[in-house]
């Protein structure tokens, strides 16, 4: 019986494992392999160049620019949705009128794909008839000619706003679920003891929401590392590399410059960065688990 169960387990896992191996594991190892070559993507002939591609990374100004943008992107893409999601969850939980409707409205963007969200925000930022410039025009009375996605000063920030708009709904729902588990009596006792609303939030609610915060930050880290599609749709890394992240830089080198070997080396570095961040995160998570039982 046990033998038969084992057989079924193997058979049922075989197909998904095969798909995973072909679509994830194989390309991953292929990237490692090609990072040591000068392959251009078209040619079946290529040479092994040792660590030359990795050495080039140290002198590549565009790589440094992309690394700085990636750091900005990750910090902002984690902080903004987390803080906004917490704020919205606290507002909705305070039973403001229409809270259920607001909850649905704020959650809606997470149901859309990043491509759709990116295109919506391209329209919002459009300089002639976009919603944002129209609102500014209405409020100030002067027609602005701000090209949000076409200026290096505003391009990355504009994409971060769009990303946060989508991701905030997810954080909000997780925090709302966390708020449900906080006992009403506890907050009532705090109120009787004279704690102000801000003290209740800072000293009671936020500490009790730690498990929810762990989940929110975990999802934010994972989602921000995957955040390529919305950048690709909204700016393509432009104008002139001002919103390039490491993923976008890897794409440009591989598929626009046809330097697949160098692009693979960038992807290997990106993989190692992601691995390091995830390791640090899980180590902290384990410590928090031990503290909170």
């Amino acid at each position: 019986m046990e033998r038969e169960n084992r057989f079924w387990r193997i058979v049922l896992l075989a197909l998904p494992l095969a798909v995973f191996a072909v679509l994830v594991v194989w390309p991953l190892f292929s990237s490692f392999y090609y990072s040591f070559t000068n392959w251009n993507g078209f040619d079946s002939r290529y040479e092994f160049v040792g660590f030359r591609n990795f050495a080039k990374i140290y002198t590549d100004k565009l790589f440094l620019n992309a690394a700085i943008n990636t750091a900005i992107w990750m910090v902002a893409a984690i902080l903004l949705p987390t803080l906004l999601g917490l704020g919205l969850a606290l507002l909705i939980d305070s039973r403001i009128p229409g809270g259920t409707i607001f909850k649905s409205v704020f959650y809606l963007p997470i149901c859309l794909s990043a491509v759709v969200v990116g295109q919506i925000w391209v329209w919002i930022y459009q300089q002639d008839w976009g919603l944002l410039n129209t609102v500014i025009w209405t409020v100030t009375g002067e027609r602005p000619a701000i090209a949000w996605l076409a200026k290096p000063e505003t391009a990355l920030g504009s994409v971060i706003v769009a990303w946060s708009w989508q991701q905030t709904g997810l954080s909000m729902v997780i925090y709302l679920a966390g708020l449900v588990s906080i006992q009403e009596e506890l907050l009532e006792v705090c109120e009787i003891e004279g704690a102000s609303a801000w003290q209740r939030i800072r000293l009671v609610i936020i500490p009790l929401l730690t498990p929810a915060t762990i989940v929110v930050i975990a999802l934010s880290v994972i989602n921000s590392l995957k955040g390529f599609d919305i950048l690709f749709i909204m700016t393509g890394g432009g104008p002139f590399h001002s919103s390039d992240t490491l993923a976008m830089h890897m794409y440009n080198e591989s598929f626009r410059k046809y330097l697949m070997g160098y692009g693979s080396a960038i992807s290997v570095v990106l993989f190692l960065i992601a691995l390091t961040i995830i390791r640090i995160y899980f180590r902290q998570l384990r410590k928090l688990d031990e503290i909170h039982g």
Partner: protein
């Protein structure tokens, strides 16, 4: 025994769908093709020509088009996966050279001679666009010419009856239009490439085709005085307020729309703009027209700039006979060529296509190219792809802040020199 049967059955149930999913559903009579003629770039017209081929042959075309911008990376993804279709569209020049050097194309010399294409394709196009490393690899599906396309009503309102042939005349026209409150020049450089025609013409008409060819092959540098001068002339136009503000915020259709609406007077663009304008109801000659880019320095050959769209056969072609029959049909049948070029807003390289098939504007474009001394591929088709990326980024950066052109050119010179070594 029953367990063994179940195991086999289950194994078959797992393996069979995988096999079915990985087996190509292509029959011997199928020709697989991929191209970038989508949307406003002629999808409907291309489909009509493909249907004519299917009706005239025993082959069936399995078509998988990719949007123009996505095609540039999409075709590379397919090449990297060794899953190129039998036939794909590509831009003649440095890009085809790159693919030929990679060994990814099937030579078509035998087919070219068998079909007598020397008698069909214009010699100037055949010489410049089809031969690579001593062999033929590409049939020219069509070609384009880049000129200064304008809104006839705006020009009429400005009282312009004669169009400039010299640089001073061009500056006078711009000043006149600006004085009337019309932005003289629209440019949509969001996707970078539309800006390249300015660089091409300014360089060709000041430094000449020989110097430009040297810059494209890496034997000249982006911080040479010739390039600096061309960029300074371009910067003077931007500084004078002749270009729309924030050109990097618009794509080429946005810029075309600005001209069509009369917000801007003209745009330097390829003849595909006529296909786009015809599609939104504008009439050639009545609503729009063009004039050639003005001459700048005396004694230089007259140059025209544009791309040649071609069809090539991949080296891993499954259906050689079908692929060769398809590309030969698409270039040699005058009816197909006339239908396709009219639908796309292009010019035919087929000498048997009667110029009377074109509208008035395209006839003028055809005559302009014929009268030119030199046909040059536009920038991103004239220099290797890694270098073209450097230049295209340079144009976008320049349009953002022309006052930094010296610094931008110095950076481009270093980056281009490095890209040439790759």
């Amino acid at each position: 025994m029953s367990i063994q049967f179940t195991r086999r059955g289950l194994a078959a149930a797992v393996v069979l769908p995988v096999l079915l999913a990985t087996s190509p559903a292509i029959s011997q009579g199928d020709v697989t093709i991929t191209h970038y003629f989508t949307g406003e770039l002629g999808k409907k017209s291309f489909d009509e020509q493909v249907a004519k081929f299917e009706a005239a042959s025993d082959f069936t075309v399995k078509d998988s088009p990719i949007g123009h911008e996505d095609f540039k990376s999409g075709i590379l993804v397919r090449a990297a996966g060794q899953s190129l279709p039998d036939v794909f569209s590509y831009w003649a020049g440095a890009r085809v050279q790159f693919v030929v050097d990679s060994g990814s194309l099937h030579p078509i010399d035998d087919m070219w001679n068998r079909e007598g294409l020397d008698d069909v394709v214009a010699k100037s196009v055949a010489d410049s666009a089809t031969m690579y490393n001593g062999n033929r690899y590409l049939v020219p599906l069509n070609y384009h010419y880049s000129g200064m396309f304008y809104n006839t009503n705006v020009m009429a309102d400005a009282g312009v009856t004669e169009f400039p042939t010299t640089w001073d005349g061009f500056l006078e026209l711009c000043e006149k239009l600006k004085g009337m409150g019309v932005t003289p020049i629209a440019l949509g450089s969001m996707n970078r490439w539309p800006a390249q025609f300015w660089f091409d013409y300014l360089l060709l008409n000041t430094a000449g085709p020989k110097y430009r060819a040297a810059l494209m092959n890496g034997s000249a540098s982006y911080d040479d005085p010739e390039v600096v001068r061309a960029m300074e002339m371009w910067a003077s136009l931007v500084d004078a307020g002749y270009f729309v503000p924030n050109a990097n915020a618009d794509n080429w259709t946005d810029a075309s729309d600005r001209v069509a609406r009369g917000e801007a007077a003209m745009t330097l663009m390829g003849t595909w703009i006529t296909g786009y304008w015809n599609g939104i109801g504008l009439m050639a000659g009545d609503d729009y027209d063009f004039f050639p880019f003005p001459a700048i320095d005396d004694g230089l050959p007259t140059s025209v700039v544009g791309p040649v769209d071609g069809l090539v056969i991949s080296s891993n072609v499954q259906n050689v006979a079908g692929a060769e029959a398809f590309i030969a049909f698409m270039v040699s049948d005058p009816g197909v060529q006339a239908g396709w070029t009219k639908g796309q807003g292009a010019l035919s390289a087929n000498t048997m296509v009667d110029p009377a098939e074109y509208n008035a504007v395209m006839q003028k474009a055809n005559a302009t190219v014929a009268a030119a001394d030199h046909f040059a591929f536009n920038y991103d088709l004239a220099t290797p792809p890694p270098v073209a990326e450097v230049g295209l980024a340079m144009f976008a950066e320049f349009m953002n802040d022309p006052s930094r052109s010296g610094e931008i050119l110095a950076g481009a010179a270093t980056a281009a020199a490095e890209a040439f070594t790759q």
